[in-house]
């Protein structure tokens, strides 16, 4: 009987597991879900400060973080990498756009992003909900 079990591993590998592998596509799907959840990591206030910072003028990452410090938002103080993660996420969502100027990447709000910001500041409950939704997509 033990001999049979010794074969279980090979047996399963040759049959049910033969073509069953966790594909790259599936791994990518996991990473995407994770990135969605990461949005939840930041606060509403930080997001709004960020939008305000780039609403009139494109800025690069370093300038953005400096501006945030000036507004007393220290979320990214020892966490610069996370700022770029957030910028990347927002770009994927179509809220901001970037372009390269002299080897540095400059970020600005898209029309969509500006609309969201204006509506949010007007106190629109829908926009507050949207922002919350953006941040809470994680809890799905």
């Amino acid at each position: 009987m033990n001999d049979s079990f010794f074969n279980l591993k090979n047996s399963m590998k040759k049959t049910v597991f033969k073509d069953l592998t966790f594909s790259e596509e599936r791994k990518r799907a996991v990473k995407e879900s994770i990135q969605q959840k990461q949005l939840y990591y930041w606060s509403e206030g930080t997001l709004i400060s960020l939008f305000e910072t780039i609403q009139y003028e494109a800025k690069n990452g370093f300038d953005i973080s400096t501006h945030l410090f000036q507004k007393s938002d220290f979320t990214f103080q020892n966490n610069e990498g996370q700022l770029y993660t957030l910028l990347h996420l927002l770009e994927n969502k179509g809220i901001l756009t970037s372009k390269w100027i002299e080897e540095k990447k400059y970020y600005s709000l898209t029309a969509k992003g500006k609309k969201r910001l204006t509506a949010y500041k007007r106190g629109s409950s829908i926009q507050r909900e949207y922002l919350k939704h953006l941040l809470e997509e994680a809890s799905l």
């Binding site: 279980l8 049959t15 597991f17 966790f22 996991v30 690069n60 990452g61 610069e80 993660t85």
Partner: protein, 182 residues
């Protein structure tokens, strides 16, 4: 790391967690997928659940205290997730439909029929997969994954003596089943 080549990512940075999950998927992706398959016996469902399992691992990464090995920890999440699925209303609805209407929306029947040939190997595999879950589980973890009884106990959160008993009973059942088919 960033565009200005400035300071790198801190210990608990998000990118670090993402990297860890990446590594986890590369090392244990297939292992966990196979484990999940033994519970649900359907390739697509197994892939879906495995995805969910790695997302759970990400969410709980901060709770991992390094006491157990990360493999045991991940496998435990996998095991629990599968059992939750099997207890779920959704799954019960599917199996009920199958019993009443003989309707299989999934691939499981096709896969199982492919397995049923006169080959000795496939007989063993299908015999094991046909066992009730509580016997299938320790058999797979012990003879395929080669986990010790203690490790099995950690992964399944089942008392080690219970595991011993189930393994013994599982072997008896398999012996009977395989004798029948010869």
């Amino acid at each position: 790391m960033n565009e200005l080549g400035q300071v790198a990512v801190p210990e608990d940075g998000i990118e670090n967690k993402e990297q860890m999950i990446d590594q986890l998927m590369n090392e244990y992706g297939d292992g966990i997928l196979h484990l999940v398959y033994t519970y649900v016996k359907n390739e697509t469902t197994a892939e879906d659940l495995t995805q969910e399992i790695f997302i759970k691992c990400y969410e709980r990464l901060s709770q991992f205290n390094g006491k157990a090995s990360i493999k045991t920890w991940a496998y435990r999440i996998a095991c629990n997730h599968c059992k939750d699925y099997l207890r779920s209303w959704h799954y019960r609805k599917i199996t009920l439909n199958e019993k009443i209407f003989g309707f299989t929306p999934s691939k499981s029947k096709e896969v199982e029929e492919e397995i049923i040939t006169k080959d000795e190997e496939t007989n063993l595999t299908s015999a094991v997969l046909a066992l009730p879950i509580k016997y299938r589980e320790p058999i797979f973890l012990h003879y395929y994954e080669e986990l010790s009884l203690t490790e099995i106990s950690k992964v399944t959160n089942i008392n080690i003596n219970t595991i011993k008993t189930r393994l013994k009973r599982a072997k008896e059942l398999l012996k009977e089943k395989l004798k029948e088919e010869v």
